[in-house]
């Protein structure tokens, strides 16, 4: 069946959309004013929001979510979801701290954390790409199971390392910029490059836009899907290393709880479509910054913990509303 063509021709009706790159950019810019307004608003209310010190705190707070949301962007662009990133972060942090205690091999903690992320990301990816289970269900299971693994690793205790060899990641600076922020920025730039300048990136958009067409066009859809979940796992692992480095410690039960929701919220706020195929990493960056500014600003102006929850939750719903308004279709 072919759709009624007339309303869709250029002659009959002005085309509503431009190319996705520009569209995504417009989306990001669409949210950028909100970020700026929030910053100005919090500054006017607290008079200490826009200090150098506070901005540094906000960006550091945002850093880990930016990294995880970058991975989530890849996943959501394919039309999937990764609910397990918070739990993977916890496992990675546990692994990083435990391995860091090995005498002389402490720096291996970084590799251990990243490897942990890759392993669980690959497990998600294999089930989704090859067994073809829905991503929501696979990663919902992983959310719980991997959390259990994280608790198991430390015998359900907090693990410490006061002499963490890579603590500089969480607390040091590079040319005056906190390492956390540097890492987040590098992750965003690399993600942009992967998405926009590589064959793989174009295939991510193609698979998300129309998986059947991608298959017929000769794209190995399973490989693209597997890769995005590995990337998501890897970046969740990196988030774990960053958390551990910041705290000199990790706790399998508490660390990364509900981080997946912040990551998803950042991606959706950034204008990436839940149906896949449309979106950009810059939007995700803006989305993550909005969440960080909200969290920090609400504390600064003295909003109670309870209201912070309510406001953050509403922001997620508004984000999905925007997504729906933009795509003109009802979506989850």
């Amino acid at each position: 069946m072919d759709a009624a063509p007339e309303a869709k021709t250029i002659d009959a009706a002005p085309p509503a959309r431009t190319r996705p790159g520009v569209g995504a950019w417009v989306q990001a810019v669409g949210m950028l004013p909100i970020l700026v307004l929030l910053c100005i608003g919090f500054e006017l209310m607290s008079h200490r929001f826009l200090t150098l010190q506070n901005v540094s705190i906000v960006t550091q707070q945002a850093a880990i979510n930016i990294v995880m949301a970058a991975g989530m962007t890849f996943v959501i662009l394919t039309g999937g979801i990764d609910l397990s990133v918070g739990s993977i972060l916890a496992v990675a942090a546990m692994l990083a701290v435990i391995v860091s205690k090995l005498p002389g091999l402490g720096m291996l903690g970084i590799a251990a954390g990243l490897a942990g992320g890759v392993v669980f990301g690959a497990a998600n990816g294999l089930l989704i790409a090859l067994v073809r289970l829905p991503s929501f269900i696979v990663t919902l299971g992983a959310l719980t199971a991997v959390r259990g693994v994280a608790r198991l690793l430390g015998g359900d205790n907090t693990v410490f390392n006061a002499h963490l060899p890579f603590a500089f990641i969480g607390n040091g600076s590079f040319l005056g910029i906190p390492w956390l922020v540097v890492i987040a920025f590098v992750v965003v730039v690399v993600s942009w490059f992967l998405l926009r300048r590589t064959v793989f990136g174009m295939r991510v958009y193609a698979v998300g836009g129309n998986p059947d067409a991608a298959h017929l066009a000769g794209i190995k859809v399973w490989r693209v899907l597997l890769t995005v979940y590995v990337i998501s796992g890897l970046l969740a692992g990196l988030g774990g290393v960053m958390s551990a480095a910041r705290l000199y410690a990790a706790n399998g039960l508490q660390l990364g709880q509900s981080y997946e929701l912040d990551a998803i919220a950042a991606v959706i706020l950034g204008g990436t479509s839940f149906t896949g195929g449309v979106g950009s990493i810059w939007g995700t960056l803006v989305g993550a910054l909005i969440i960080a500014v909200l969290t920090n600003g609400l504390v600064l102006v003295g909003v109670s913990d309870i209201w912070q929850y309510i406001i953050k939750g509403l922001v997620i719903i508004i984000a999905v509303t925007l997504d729906r308004y933009r795509t003109g279709a009802a979506r989850t």
């Binding site: 072919d2 063509p5 959309r17 431009t18 590589t198 064959v199 174009m202 067409a213």
Partner: protein, 510 residues
Amino acid sequence: MTEAPPPPVLQMQHIAKTFGTVRALSDVSFAAHAGEVHALMGENGAGKSTLMKILSGAYHPDPGGEIRLAGKPVHIDGPAAARHAGIATIYQELALSPNLTVAENVFLGREMRRAGLIDRTAMAKACQPVLDRLAVPFSPGTRVAALSLAERQIVEIARALLARSRILVMDEPTTSLSSRETDRLFDLIRQLRAEGLAIIYISHRMAEIHELADRVSVLRDGRYIGTLTRAEMTEDALLRMMVGRDISGFYKKEHKPPEATRRVVLSVQDIADGKRVHGCSFEVHEGEVLGIAGLVGAGRTELARLVCGADRRIRGRIVLEGKEIAARTPGEVIDAGMVYLTEDRKLLGLFLDMSVRENIVTGVIGRDAHAGILDRAAARRRSAKAVAALSIRARSDAVVVGSLSGGNQQKALLARLLETKPRVVFLDEPTRGIDVGAKSEIYRLIDQLARAGMAIVVISSELPEIIGICDRALVMRDGAFAGELHATAEAPLSQEAVIAIATGAARRAA
């Protein structure tokens, strides 16, 4: 048709519609009488669907126009008002809920109730006679998800019939119907006409217009061009009105039919999927256009998908250019030199949110890339060349492909396939849902490719197309080849012969 027509049941006068700055319709007047089939023709973008959407309440016309029903001015301010006024519209995009049953769909929005509860028995009972009239193999309790596209269309028709409409608008209702189903539909339309309905019938197919229409009105560029009576309707006259110029040599066939000595490019032996395709063997020669005809559901698309690796085969050999292809995925088959143009470019072909350029280069970006990094200059060059070669009309190749007209979308998808430099091209319904101009361009392209030595397999439900462009036609029935027809210089393929084989009326090879 012999006596003077009764006063028009529908008059649309001075209807105009603008979208933003674009005039979709300007000063269109149109009338339909009770008991007539009034065909509405025009190229895509001519304004047919816009006009009918105004009639069905989906669009509001610009002020100044008037709609009269049986002489009385009416104000149609929404779909509900149109339904209430007795106007039923069957759109191309079917409006059915696949998870509900046939009866539930037919009565959607006006469910029968007893004591406030849904009365499924009564709905099924009311639905059954209409389904009987349509002679369908399913029952009111069948879930729509289990029906073919053709059958779903019939459910739509049943819904309109049960609503007892006075004016029935049908937008290309036969697009997905087999010829047997089409015949049945036509019988029904004649019956409805005899019962006094006014039927407005939108179609691109000349044959249907000739068979069915009492009058035909033509729109072009949002303007009313004229109305022809049955006696005046010739293909040439209609084409001239639609296009605004002479179209000679609509079907392009300048390439020579291959001689028996011509090289075999593709040889398929006893291929089967265990479901819809039961052991098909065929060969395609260099520079040949092979048609595969048959009814909807005969297994033509399934066969093409099987050969091109889109679905798994359980047996069969495929030999391309003398080499056996063991490939199991579309990617491997494309690399081997064979491509498949899907019949459903929106669902299975294009990335609608991506640009024309990205859609064109999808198949070859891997070949152009260096260490996985896109060669954007190469992509731009390829795309610019393809856009020019296929005359894809878009403001630029950076616009989203979904914003193009059907014909240009199809050309963009074709461009993607041709970029891979294939030896064999399978084209599944290559001109479905595209306008006359784009059709003739695609025929010209097929002819060009054949002259360049490519082997082309065309699957089509439009017999004039098979006859007009193919050198040879295989006819499928029930998942196997039922016959083969050759075109020669003296004797072109005959429509009757194809139909006879496709329906099982005759088993012969001409």
